[in-house]
């Protein structure tokens, strides 16, 4: 049986990142859009841990912790904004907010 090599992890990371990116472009529900950015961050986290293992140093894992911190900070902000949106418009559709254009 073939063992898992670096490229397998990178492939998983890239696929997660790609799914997130496509989802972000295509979906219009704000919570789903936010989950898609989280998916992109988790793809990067897999990359970083795999690279850290490959190089045998801890920099990748340290970076992962900070990426998770940033993702958490953005999660709190996103949920705050989504609650704000829902209170005003009673919908989570991103297209409901279109007062600004030009």
């Amino acid at each position: 049986m073939e063992t898992l090599a670096l490229q397998h992890y990178l492939a998983v990371g890239a696929i997660l990142f790609g799914i997130g990116l496509i989802g972000f472009m295509c979906r219009r529900n704000l919570i789903v859009m936010f989950l898609c950015t989280e998916l992109m961050f988790q793809g990067v986290a897999i990359n970083l841990v795999a690279f850290g293992h490959f190089w045998g140093n801890f920099s990748g894992q340290a970076f992962t912790i900070f990426v998770l911190v940033i993702a958490a900070a953005e999660a709190s902000l996103a949920l705050g904004l989504v609650v704000l949106l829902f209170r005003q418009k009673n919908t989570l559709d991103a297209d409901a907010w279109r007062e600004l254009k030009g």
Binding site: F17, F24, T37, V44, F63, V67, E74, G102
Partner: protein
């Protein structure tokens, strides 16, 4: 130990004061909350003074300052950027001063419940750029960029109590989160291809000292490194509002309160440019050996950003939207400097290090000039009343300012100076900014870039002159209402406009001063002196 402490002193002051401000903001007493902006201003002035003391002239004994683990590396470039951000930060803080709430339309800045948070976040965001400027570690660089960005999302949302500001905040946040993910993907591959997170070590790994300096093969880059750099450029393109990630600019700048818009047009942009320069320096080595693919990409982004910004600016009737696209166009001008810098290794032959230094100095000069001249335009908008005299609003559309130049002559002249400088008319700092960008582009063999900059400057003149013409030549709209509160022009905002106009004219007309300043930016173009960092 004190050495390492002093290395981070400005950042520590800003973040500590930000925490204190947020605590003061919790107070129930308005008198306590009124002290918040004063404390913030004092902190900014102290940081500015510290940075002013840390500017070292052309002194050979100055070396890169670094901490024990090599996480920070601070040389002329970082010191200058910190001084610039502290100086412009003072102006931006004065613009956001909680005066004349009726006239400025900024309830969050009106010593309301959010005062502490607002000014605290402002200082944290400025602190983020300080960290970006000093970082030698991609983790710290990423954290600095996010520290500069995340507070701005909140500032946009709380700046006005109406749905427009919140819509702007939501749009800005979601695109920002996506661009941050793209950026951190780039960082992960940069780490993965080199095995190091230190920028100076990455530079050494990609360009071993044994290789010859002028070898064109130096620019060859592994495809994975190239992928990493392109992802990073895409992430930074959002921060600097470059095409194709400029789409949020119009909506967000229009929706946010005017002082926050002024903040957005400088702070995220500076963090993006500083990070971009640092990353290009890391992957290109000290001779900026960058592959032709990347140079072409930067060239195309620069040209598209300039042209899109100016053409879209022509079509706007809302002045904040207009200034948003003007800000996109100015990012484009600065990107031409970056494109010249990146292309010099391949095209400029023997004098390429001169071209590179000139191009980088040009970008730094333009960033400074933009920071100085832009504040006046936003400040004047804040002081002019809206046409229909709604309570708590200031001028936003081009109709609002019709004939206002005759009623408020001083403000009209200040706006004229700002607009002339943004066009790049001689006797203003904007003119020298454009000259210093065009000169290296010309000597670097980028003649087409020069032509495109000229055409764009001409297009931009159309909409800037329209602002001035509307202010002075059209009749005032009769139902314009004068602000009713006592002082017509609140002092802090007037001071910010005054500093901005004074700086614009002084640096544009007094040639010895311009010369001193140009020399300063050339010194600031030295990013690192190559002192080995501790293992």
């Amino acid at each position: 130990m004190t050495g390492y402490f002093s290395l981070l002193l400005p950042e520590l002051i800003l973040s500590t004061v930000a925490c204190v401000l947020m605590l003061l903001g919790c107070s129930m007493k308005v008198a306590t909350r009124k002290r918040v902006p004063i404390l913030a201003l004092v902190a900014m002035i102290v940081v500015f003074a510290i940075q002013l003391g840390r500017q070292q002239g052309d002194n050979a004994s100055v070396h890169t300052l670094t901490d024990l683990s090599g996480t920070l590396r601070i040389f002329h470039f970082a010191q200058y950027i910190k001084l610039l951000v502290a100086g412009v930060g003072i102006m931006l803080l004065l613009l956001a001063w909680p005066t004349n709430a009726e006239g400025t339309g900024n309830s969050a800045m009106n010593v309301g419940q959010e005062t502490g948070e607002f000014y605290g976040l402002m200082l944290l965001s400025l602190c983020g750029i300080f960290i970006v400027a000093g970082a030698n570690d991609i983790i710290l660089l990423f954290l600095g960029i996010e520290l500069a960005s995340i507070p701005t999302y909140i500032m946009v949302s709380i700046s006005r109590p109406n749905p427009v500001a919140q819509e702007a905040g939501v749009k800005y946040f979601f695109l920002g989160a996506m661009s941050a993910a793209i950026m951190v993907f780039g960082f992960s591959y940069l780490y993965g291809t080199t095995g190091s997170i230190k920028l100076d070590q990455i530079s050494q790994l990609l360009h071993p000292a044994s290789a010859s300096e002028s070898d064109p093969a130096q620019t060859a880059m592994q495809p994975w490194v190239l992928l990493a750099v392109i992802m990073l450029v895409a992430g930074f393109a959002f921060k600097i509002a470059a095409v194709p990630l400029h789409v949020y600019a119009g909506d967000v700048y229009q929706g946010a309160a005017t002082p926050v818009t002024a903040f957005l047009s400088f702070v995220p942009k500076t963090s993006g440019f500083v990070a971009l320069i640092k990353i290009l320096y890391a992957v290109g080595g000290s001779s900026w050996a960058l592959p032709a693919t990347l140079v072409k990409l930067l060239w195309v982004i620069a040209v598209l950003t300039m042209t899109f910004g100016n053409v879209l600016g022509l079509l706007q009737t809302n002045l904040k939207r207009l200034l948003a696209y003007s800000s996109v166009a100015h990012s484009g001008y600065m990107l031409t400097g970056i494109a010249t810098l990146a292309g010099a290794y391949l095209s400029a032959g023997q004098d390429r290090s001169t071209v590179q230094t000139d191009a980088l100095a040009g970008v730094i000069f333009y960033l400074t000039a933009y920071g100085i001249m832009n504040a006046a335009a936003f400040g004047v908008l804040m002081l002019l009343p809206a046409r229909d005299g709604r309570a708590g609003t200031s001028a936003e559309t081009i109709e609002d300012i019709a004939g206002q130049g005759r009623r408020h002559v001083g403000l009209g002249l200040c706006m004229a100076v700002a607009c002339f400088s943004l066009i790049g008319i001689p006797l203003t700092v904007g003119f020298w900014g454009k000259v210093l960008l065009i000169k290296p582009a010309f000597s670097g063999g980028n003649n087409w870039l020069v032509v495109i900059i000229m055409i764009n400057a001409a297009i931009s003149a159309a909409y800037y002159l329209r602002i001035i013409a509307t202010m002075f030549l059209r009749d005032p709209v009769s139902d314009a209402v004068e602000p009713t509160n006592g002082s017509r022009y609140p002092l802090p905002i007037t001071a910010a406009i005054g500093i901005s106009v004074f700086g614009t004219l002084l640096l544009g007309t007094v040639l010895p001063l311009t010369q001193v300043f140009t020399t300063g930016t050339h010194i600031a173009a030295r990013i690192d002196d190559g002192t080995p960092s501790p293992k």
